[in-house]
Amino acid sequence: MESKYNNKIITWSKVATVFFLILMAAADVIGVSSARYLCVTWTGRTDTLALAIFTIVYYAITVMAFILLISVFKLLSNMSRDLVFDRKNTRLMTAIVLALVFTGFFFVLLAFVWGEAAFLALTAWFMALIVLSVKVVFDKAIVMKNDLDLTI
């Protein structure tokens, strides 16, 4: 019963991840115009420097989002194959943490033209901290599992 429930969660999470990947691809296709639109509506600035920083950060963050979403998708696929306490998963979590940390730095860069982006940077780093904590728990669990596997 519980396993069926978990499998449904994993399946729907994978569907959501694919949906977000499609959104990211769409965001990349209309990147230049949407970055310009966001820059004008959020900052009220139309100068070249603001537009350039907004466009660069926009594309950099979509790249980070791709890394993050692909890692999440692979993580969920491993979970659905009952591959839970495995080094592959902790490596994927490391990729997620790094993507979030770099996202935070890009938001800091954006904060020079749009101050509120500093809060987004803090949010990204906070999320990185949570994923890092889960990764450490998984690392410990892998060591314990290996010990248990070698207990006869």
Partner: protein, 76 residues
Amino acid sequence: MAIIVNLDVVMAKRKISSGDLAEKIGITPANLSILKNQKAKAVRFSTLNDLCRVLDCQPGDILEFRDDPEDQETGD
């Protein structure tokens, strides 16, 4: 590891094969191989009990402590 498993010696004395022993104590031959090849991290009392019963020996016949100066691990 300072603890040596002398299972192969006891098995040779009792003239019992790995397959037979694994079947009699209810573990897989792969796990018995891990135990014989000093790869095991721990042995359950229940497994030790079954080994001693089937091989008609004492735990000390199977397990031996040899001091290893290079192996100073305490918590592992």
